[in-house]
């Protein structure tokens, strides 16, 4: 006995997730172009770990493997996490972060659809809290002073922690543009002088700005394919621009331009891929507006005043907590009822 309707639109969870993964490709391509192929190793590692952890947890929780392993949600988590951490991270860092995200943040809360927090962001938060030192080893973009490792050398470092004798980790890696900005501001340098440093490009960091643009392009594809609604990215980027712009206008020496905020760190990735995650996000349109605006405010606050260089992951987690409340507060008017729901 099955209830109507007997037809359904040709959409599935698995296909939606796959399209989101597909939308990450331009950003990853930029990443490889500017920073070398190490990121592909992380993504592969994260994918394998994600699927293995998912399978293990499903087994432990007595759930069928096939429908959940093919829903691509674990894969998406793995990719997001790999993109959030330094490409030259040791293998165990990727594995620990992904496994924690899937096992604890996803399955201990009930698996697909029930996790209040974005598993990838939880994985990221755990890593940056537990292994902050490893999380600062960001690759220097090509074309900048410093040495570029060959792919086998990169593999050797990722899996064995061994660097060629001629180089040190310090020569290979650098602080992110956001981190550099923060430390230099801390030392009392004005923004315009900091921006003249070699790691910065036209919009934000050299290389990283192009990666952000790549993610933005992927986001536009998702908007076009109606996988995400426009509210989240537009409100998020808009609010970030407004707050950063306001402070930049008032005190341009201490506050960096809003475009810098857009194209550095995980802002673009967040706007299109993290804050649009339906599972941890609000369900109402009004709720999404509040959620995105709040996330933007938190991102800016953490970047400007917080203890960590980037604030996207923490903004996502903090806003995730507020979702039930936001949803309760923003229930829309129902057909045939007055605004107050009576």
């Amino acid at each position: 006995m099955w209830s109507s309707p007997f037809i359904s639109a040709p959409a599935s969870v698995s296909q939606i997730m796959l399209r989101v993964i597909f939308a990450m490709v331009p950003g990853i391509a930029m990443y490889v172009w500017f920073f070398g192929p190490a990121i592909l190793v992380s993504i592969t590692l994260a994918s394998i770990t994600a699927l293995a952890t998912e399978a293990l947890m499903l087994k432990l929780r007595n759930r069928p493997l096939k429908p959940f392993l093919t829903d691509n949600s674990a894969l998406l988590t793995g990719w997001l996490l790999a993109l959030s951490i330094p490409a030259l991270a040791p293998w165990w860092l990727v594995v620990v972060g992904t496994a924690f995200g899937i096992a604890v943040a996803k399955h201990l809360y009930g698996g697909l659809g029930n996790n209040p927090f974005n598993p990838a962001m939880v994985g990221y938060a755990v890593l940056i809290i537990s292994f902050p030192a490893h999380m600062t080893h960001w690759l220097t973009p090509h074309g900048l002073e410093g040495i570029v490792l060959s792919f086998p050398d990169q593999l050797n470092y990722i899996f064995h922690g061994i660097l060629p004798a001629s180089t040190t980790l310090d020569a290979l890696t650098t602080a992110t543009p956001l981190d550099t900005l923060k430390t230099q501001l801390h030392l009392g340098l004005p923004v315009n002088e900091i921006r003249d440093m070699p790691i910065y490009g036209h919009l934000a960091g050299k290389g990283t700005e192009m990666v952000a643009i790549g993610f933005g392009l992927g986001g536009l594809y998702m908007l076009y394919a109606r996988i995400i609604s426009w509210h989240t990215p537009v409100i998020y980027l808009g609010t970030l621009f407004a707050i950063a712009g306001l402070f930049h206008l008032v005190d341009p020496a201490s506050y960096v331009a809003p475009t810098f905020h857009w194209f550095s760190g995980a802002a673009m990735l967040g706007a299109f891929f993290i804050f649009t995650d339906p599972v941890g996000g609000p369900t109402t349109i009004k709720g999404r507006v509040i959620y995105s605006a709040g996330a933007a405010l938190l991102t800016w606050l953490i970047r400007s005043y917080g203890g960590f260089p980037d604030g996207v992951a923490f903004a996502a987690l903090l806003m995730n907590i507020c979702v039930p409340l936001i949803d309760t507060w923003t229930q829309p008017k129902v057909f045939g009822r007055k605004g107050d729901g009576k």
Binding site: L108, I129, F131
Partner: protein, 231 residues
């Protein structure tokens, strides 16, 4: 008191109504000081001492305390005991006193102490009350110890670190390095690790209970089945 009564009190306190993972009373110290076994167990023992003495003190005088000022008097007695413990630790376990810091005076507001006084000691005789207080305290200590061990091993790869603070410098060599050359998994030591660890302990407790219930059920149906076969 019969042996069975004593057994019931302990079973109730340590497993069935464990203050740490069933009643979830005393979360504040549970989450804050369980970063190592030594910290956890020390605070647990301090709490046990307070609970044993407060329950044991209040039970014999319960009939003389007017109902209106029951709670203030209970709190007064508990506060006095805690302050005494605080003085003693300050004097004889200074290192530990510094580490545990604010959490020793906070035993006063630990719900489990007042809860047992109110729920058990104000209705029972002195001996069972003291036993109940002690058992409850030990139940909490056990959870603090297990949680501390989990967090310490995962977070630092050691066990019993800081034991010299409680037992003097001679005990320094007792620290176990469970995982040598450990990177450290900092989140286990930090507050989030306490929440995750506690959650896992509660889950394990529930899982044991469910499995025991299922076993019991299976056993009864099986015995019934075998009985019918025999018949």
């Amino acid at each position: 008191m019969t042996f069975q009564e004593i057994k019931d009190i302990f079973y109730n306190a340590v497993w069935k109504q464990n203050p740490g993972i069933v009643q979830l009373l005393g979360l504040c110290p549970l989450l804050a000081v369980s970063s190592t076994v030594v910290n956890g167990v020390s605070l647990g023992l301090a709490t046990t001492l307070v609970m044993t003495v407060s329950s044991g003190t209040i039970a014999p005088i319960r009939n003389y305390i007017p109902n209106e000022i029951r709670i203030p008097v209970f709190i007064l007695i508990i506060a006095v005991l805690v302050t005494v413990v605080q003085y003693l630790m300050n004097a004889y376990m200074y290192g530990l006193f510094i580490v545990l810091g604010i959490f020793i005076p906070l035993i006063v507001t630990n719900c489990i102490v007042l809860a047992r006084v109110e729920a058990f000691a104000s209705r029972n005789a002195a001996l069972p009350s003291a036993l109940d207080g002690m058992a409850m305290g030990l139940g909490l200590t056990a959870v603090l110890g297990v949680l501390g061990a989990m967090r310490e091993v995962i977070g630092k790869g050691t066990l019993f670190s800081g034991i010299d603070l409680a037992l003097g410098d001679g005990a320094k060599s007792w620290v176990l390095h469970v995982i040598p050359d450990y990177h450290g998994f900092l989140i286990a030591i930090l507050p989030p690790g306490a929440f995750i660890g506690l959650g896992l302990l509660i889950a394990a407790h529930n899982w044991f209970n469910l499995r025991a219930a299922a076993r019991r059920k299976a056993a009864t149906t099986e015995s019934a089945a075998s009985a019918s076969v025999a018949a």
